[in-house]
Amino acid sequence: MLFFDQLKKNDPQLRLLTMVVLGGLGVLLAGLWWVQIVSARDYQARLETQSFRTVRLPAVRGKILDRTGVALADSRPSFNASLYFEELRKPFDAAYTADLAALRRQLHAQMTEQEHALKHPLTRKERARFALSADQKNALRQRARYQVASNLVAYLSARLQQPAALDEQKFQRHYAAALVLPYPVLLNLDPTNLARFEEQSVTLEGLDLEMQPVRVYPYQTTAAHLLGQLRRDISSAEGEDSFLNYPLPVFRGTVGLEAAFDAQLRGRSGSKSVLVNNLGYRQSESVWSAALPGENVVLTLDLRLQQAAERALAQAMTEVRGAVVVLDPRNGDILALASAPSYDPNMFVRGLTPAEGRYLSDARLRPQINRAVQENYSPGSIFKIIVGLAALESGLDPRATYHVQPDPASPGHGCIFVGRQKIRDLAAPGDYDFHRALLRSSNAYFITNGLRAGIENILRLTRRLHLGELCGLPTRQEVRGNMPTLPEVRARWTAGETANVCIGQGEVDVTPLQVAVVTAAIANGGKVLYPRLVAAVAPQDPFSGGDRESFPGGQVRDELGVRPRNLQLVREAMLAETEDLEGTGYAAFHRGKPGAPVLPTFRVCGKTGTAQVKDASGRTVDHTTWFTSFAPYEDPRYVVVVMVESGGSGGGTAAPVARDIYLKIEELERAGAFRLPVVAQKN
């Protein structure tokens, strides 16, 4: 061996030198072993942190579909024209070099001038004043970058005939903080501009299109309250990569179905890693985990009915505040659920303008409240359906007549005294049996018979109807309504309070959806149903192999437990309400008085109501008008509940809204529009 020769020879000087060299190389080898073998993992990790940036890939959010498969909430690609910095490096450098040269020339000229003025060559110290500091150069570089980008944007703007400006501060901030991400210049290009851009883009280095999925509600205000709202969010959900350098914002539902089914709708964000060079420019990228698109949510709503309901409601009066529920009494499917006034949820996606913000927080309109489920209303006369049913069940003879005495203050109307309290009656004085009392909505009759049946019997019935409880919509934007409980009633109660309950005032409050469930129970023979809003959650791509999760309809919550004969009596009286000349709903459903029916085939059973809204001191300040109904009488398939705040009367304000909806339903049925499976199978 080479060095053993040296060690063996009797040459102490060379032997020592050999050992020194050997030792030195040994030290190097040991050091390399330590760095490259023992600590390799450490250095690899440091390499990764300095040269990789992770970026979230937002998933495409699932759609919200109506029962026929029409998208109420959709995701569409939004195209932004964006600056890609890594392609602009050369222009940046060129601009900087040119600027620097210009500045140097200028400084040099100043220097010569000074020399002339001082009449001697400048000393070193004087020269230093004309030197450029690192900060100055940096500022120059920044300005050069901005100028290059700004020129490019101006050129693009001219070509697309679209105003665009580059905010310098924003641009510099983006350059400093998010260099690997493209900088959006023109957001949301429309098809014309997209085509123009594609024509030009070959010549525009550094500019390219960037696609982002954007939430869109194609029918704007339609069903806005149910669909809910989104906000942009940068946090990571469970099961996704956290610790991202650039967690690109995704949409998160905050209200309504978007919030309730957020987990299913949002899918799973993926992530990509971007390799960056020492200056932070993007070099290449690779996708670590692909984004999984979210699932679709299929509703029981029918878009055509929903639109019809909203249109009809809007025509009830100016600046209408009210709600409509259309329910299938056979299975509890919510076919339409409208609340007015509404708003366009698209504005949450693009950001609110100040005017929109003021509109949304208007104290009187309160557009964000879903009036069909989110507000308590006195039911007024429509509560007489329940009181009447309770009275019949406790033995009231429907044929027995009751004489309503005239009101001493206004002899044309009746009245009743409960204790010292006088309750007025809009019905005329005279003899009333059950049928006539319901269709004329006689307060005196129902108070008398309600008191006779007793508050506890009434409340037993409301408990089976689950009034005062949530309907269980997945949106969870619900109020319970108010209904006294039996213990409360036993502890403290007066006849006057019972009298108020009998005409749907005082201690009772309901939501329109609760009224729809009650009406459906009358219509379907006593089944109290859970209303169903969401039929299924299905994968966006039907061939992806994902599971479709269905929520069955017709879930019975309770049985009313009343005699069919009594139900039939109520139904007949409700039919008479729209068909008898004396009925409060007759005018809405007929042309003239008497006149031909407006609806070609449907016979509608209904009940009007006008509830007083009282302020804290008990004065009547407003009215809530109601019309609850089902049709057709022979085979009830639709429950329509209309509630309008500040309306004139149930028959005058609310009933025409229901009539218009039934007109549309009949038209759609004739056209065969509903000959689809109950829940659409296609997506």
Binding site: V21, G31, V35
Partner: protein, 413 residues
């Protein structure tokens, strides 16, 4: 066998050493290529295929790896030429060579003649070639010191101070450029030659202790002395030393927050090269990422300006891993130990001292350069002989190797 040697003098060359040198040169071309061709992902063949021959030739001339090949060829020719003359004849001219290089070291310091780069004046611009006199000065120093010390050992005591002076002159001139690293490698070479020449031990011990104390005092002064007591060293050298010893840049008392911030940032920037070199070497792991697959260099973390010269070892270690490092060190070991064997077999004291000087010079450069890549040595601009890109360094190293072969050819027996 004896007659065979006489009839075929080429068989007397050190073939093992030549093979190791050849291996180093192949690695040099390969990794200079890897370090400098990052912006041309298509590489050599695509370039050859796609353009005309003239364009190709023009492109080739501009590329570092091709220039490196040219330097290797020129160096090999120079080395072979040196072998034609007996080293004893050459040694007679040593003081002429020494004087010439000293003159060049003076010339390079003259503004206008020497070119300033990275704050140091180390090059003479010859248009096609940036000539670096210090690379040749090292060799001239070794040659003349060997010649000077080759007299009988009894006289060494008398000429001890003169031989020190022989070392101090180029040392100070190179230090003035400034190029601390190149100046420092003269010290072990000089010491090794003095020791092997048989200088009395107590002289050597005194010399080493004095150098050690001076060095320690220098460091203490740089780090701890109040500013106006400090020896004037270049600011960047002081900072390099601070980085090496892991000292933080002490802000002057009462410094503003911005000033502190600036110093901290500067420290981060200054330690950038060392940090990135370490990451390169460490992330190579056992087997490396593969030739031209290293990301540190491609992404520019390892500064482009130094990747192909001072930090070429980082590129090799990253792309070929620990295996590659071992290969490089083995090749150097072969060259060094064959050099020491040559010293042992040299015909006379001159040959022995010359071989020892060349070996210690080579060894200290290798140790300093590789050591700085793994942070056991401070960063100094010492190239890795034969691997780093650079005309002067390659020429100087190959001429030195030619001298070793020369001594080997004219060895005893």
């Amino acid at each position: 066998m004896f007659t065979a040697n006489l009839n075929a003098p080429e068989s007397r060359i050190d073939r093992v050493q030549l093979a190791a040198l050849g291996g180093l040169m192949v690695l040099g071309v390969a990794f200079v290529y890897s370090a400098t061709m990052v912006n041309e992902p298509l590489g050599f063949w695509a370039q050859y295929r796609d353009v005309t021959l003239v364009e190709f030739a023009r492109w080739l001339i501009g590329e570092f790896f091709f220039r490196q090949i040219v330097w290797y060829l020129l160096g090999a020719a120079a080395g072979a030429a040196i072998c034609l003359l007996d080293y004893r004849v050459l040694a007679r001219w040593s003081f002429v060579v020494y004087g010439t290089t000293l003159l060049l070291l003076v010339v390079v310091l003259v503004p206008g003649l020497g070119t300033m780069r990275y704050g140091a004046r180390r090059w003479i611009d010859l248009g096609f070639f940036q000539f670096q006199p210090s690379e040749f000065a090292k060799l001239a120093f070794v040659l003349s010191l060997a010649h000077f010390l080759s007299r009988p050992p009894e006289e060494l005591r008398r000429i001890f101070w003169k031989s020190l002076g022989l070392m101090v002159l180029p040392f100070l001139l190179i230090l003035k450029e400034p190029d601390l690293g190149s100046a420092l490698v003269l010290v072990p070479a000089g010491l090794g030659m003095l020791y092997v020449a048989g200088t009395p031990r107590r002289y050597l011990i005194r010399l080493v202790s004095v150098l050690g104390i001076l060095g320690a005092l220098f460091l203490v002064d740089v780090f701890f002395a109040p500013p106006n007591w400090q020896i004037k060293v270049q600011d960047y050298q002081r900072r390099r030393l601070l980085v090496y010893f892991g000292q933080s840049y002490a802000p002057p008392p009462g410094a503003s927050k911005a000033e502190r911030e600036r110093l901290r940032k500067q420290q981060f920037d200054d330690s950038h090269n060392v940090r990135q070199a370490l990451i390169s070497v460490g992330s190579g792991g056992l087997a490396g990422k593969g030739w031209r697959r290293g990301t540190q260099n491609a992404l520019g973390y390892l500064p482009r300006a130094v990747a192909h010269n001072d930090f070429i070892f980082s590129v090799i270690a990253e792309e070929k891993g620990f295996v590659g490092s071992v290969v490089v060190i083995t090749l150097y070991a072969v060259v060094l130990f064959t050099g020491l064997r040559t010293a042992g077999q040299a015909r006379d004291r001159l040959g022995r001292l010359l071989a020892v000087g060349i070996v210690t010079l080579l060894f200290s450069q290798v140790f300093i350069n590789i050591g700085m890549n793994i942070r056991i040595m401070p960063v100094t601009g010492v190239p890795l002989p034969l691997l780093s890109y650079g005309g002067s360094s390659v020429l100087g190293s190959l001429i030195a190797m030619g001298l070793l072969q020369n001594i080997y050819i004219h060895r005893k027996g």
